[in-house]
Subunit: 317 residues, 2 copies
């Protein structure tokens, strides 16, 4: 049987598991769906941070220290931009810029974001399928005491400092899920949907906010499993813990489980959260306890294999 899998992912943390899955599954058996709520237009360029992180990670050209952007990068565009009085709060490396310029050019020529992503992925030698969650614009807006902030303004320019009072996904109610996403979920060979360890509120919720997606995932014959991005009350990466606290959620695997309740059939939690197992199980989820901190490539592959096996067990249960 030709088991197929769909991974839902944000940027850095999610991309680690996506890479592990890509190293484990042949290309035709994996579709990676990227959050595009973080996309924005900056200096006239269409920037898609999570798509870029996924592409660079799978193409092995990513900056392994930062987790975002390209490795062996130079910053002469930024220094010249500073000299010209341009905005410098969002770092654009010289190589990275080629991606944004090609994407912007292709979108202006009428290609969809899915088509552009396929073309760029192909050019970077990526065999696996990376697709945006939607070809239509969805923009994550963070509500703060000081007013609304576009996601990158909150995340990068303001370094997540403002206290969050809410998050909304502008355009999500009329954005159609991308054809590649719909097709992958409709595939009779679909064996599981894996929610990568990405920020539930910022990276996964925009995907779930697309019309029909939450229902489709709930109705799916195949199991949906998630890997908790929270370990020991801390986000492994990014502002998830701070945001969850500000939005009145406990930053814990139990809160993650509660967030995904009714949608997720199984949650993968870290060994350090072993004592939360019973609490998560009470939310009608299978629990798998393992090492979820992916430092090496082997860690990524190992966690991917564990997720695939876990979903297989749930699927046949």
């Amino acid at each position: 049987m030709n088991h197929r899998f769909v991974a839902l992912s944000g940027g850095v943390g999610g991309a680690k598991l996506a890479l592990g899955l890509a190293k484990t599954l042949p290309a035709e058996r994996l579709t990676i769906i990227a959050n595009t709520g973080d996309d924005f237009v900056h200096m006239g360029l269409h920037i898609a941070p999570d798509l870029d992180t996924l592409m660079y990670t799978l193409a092995a050209v990513s900056n392994t220290e930062t987790g975002w952007g390209r490795g062996a990068e130079s910053w002469n565009f930024m220094s010249a931009t500073a000299e010209l009085g341009g905005e410098t709060w969002f770092n654009l490396g010289d190589k990275d810029l080629a991606t944004h310029i090609q994407r912007t050019r292709r979108l202006k020529n009428g290609e969809t974001l899915s088509e552009v992503t396929s073309a760029l992925s192909r050019a970077l030698g990526i065999a696996h399928s990376i697709a945006p969650m939607s070809n239509d614009p969805v923009r994550t807006i963070v509500t703060t005491a000081d007013g609304d902030l576009a996601f990158q303004h909150y995340f990068v320019r303001e370094r997540c400092t403002p206290v969050i009072t809410g998050v909304r996904f502008e355009g999500a109610d009329r954005a159609r899920p991308a054809p590649g996403f719909v097709k992958a979920l409709d595939d009779p060979a679909l064996s599981a949907v894996i929610i990568c360890p990405s920020n539930p509120l910022l990276s996964i919720d925009p995907i779930l906010a697309l019309p029909g997606i939450r229902q489709t995932l709930t109705d799916l014959a195949a199991p949906v499993i998630a890997v908790s991005p929270i370990v020991k009350d801390m986000a492994i990466k990014g502002p998830a813990a701070k945001m969850m606290a500000e939005l009145g959620m406990e930053a814990s695997v139990v809160a993650v489980a509660r967030h995904y309740r009714g949608l997720v059939d199984g949650l993968v939690i870290d060994r350090q959260d072993e004592n939360s197992r019973a609490a998560v199980e009470r939310l009608s989820m299978e629990v798998l306890v393992t090492n979820t901190i992916m430092e090496t490539l082997d860690d990524r592959i190992e966690l991917a294999k564990i997720c695939l096996a876990f979903s297989g067990r749930i699927g046949t249960a």
Copy 2:
């Protein structure tokens, strides 16, 4: 008396004299008008090669070897663009790119090309005034045996190989001269217009093709002088000689003089063309013979001073 001067310039060759003039005259006494017929949109960016060359030259950040682009440049954007299957025939350095992106962004925000050029010049620390010939689009089209070619396609992509049968300046008939250009020509203190040693057919003719400009220059009380870009039947830089030959013009200072006849009151020619003096004088022009080949900064300043003195002599004659 506060003598003021206007210089008309294309790229590399013209920018050398423009720099000499800027080193000789205080900022308020010089306006440099750039050809924009070579401008084009590439990868969604508004590129203005002659404005850039003038700005970089006056800001002392130009690549002194090539004469175009920025010095101490890196090319990582281009290599990443090649990797992504993008067009690579037009070289865009990483620092240079900041100029194109800022210009494109500002134009989209509704600023005129003159306003953008002022802002970029200021940011680069340029005291002198550089203005585009027009804020409206003019596009130089080269007619060849193989069909029409946009200028940069002819010049850079095809390396001037196709045989030219004609040149036209699309949009020139309805392009208004830029406000700074009109103001400088209207200034009662205007002492001379200096046509820099740029390609007459490609860099100066687009400026002269703007409505009213040729007539204004002809009617001007102040003299118009030009420096021949042709020395000893060769263009010092660029395809002028080849183009002139293909268009049935002799590539010589006499042909340059014939081209500018009725417009130019004085022509500066090189010592190597001393024997053409009489032929040029027969075209009702004053002739000044000097060294016109500008290798060093001192050469540029020296030629600038000679031009200013020459125009002074003609003006008071």
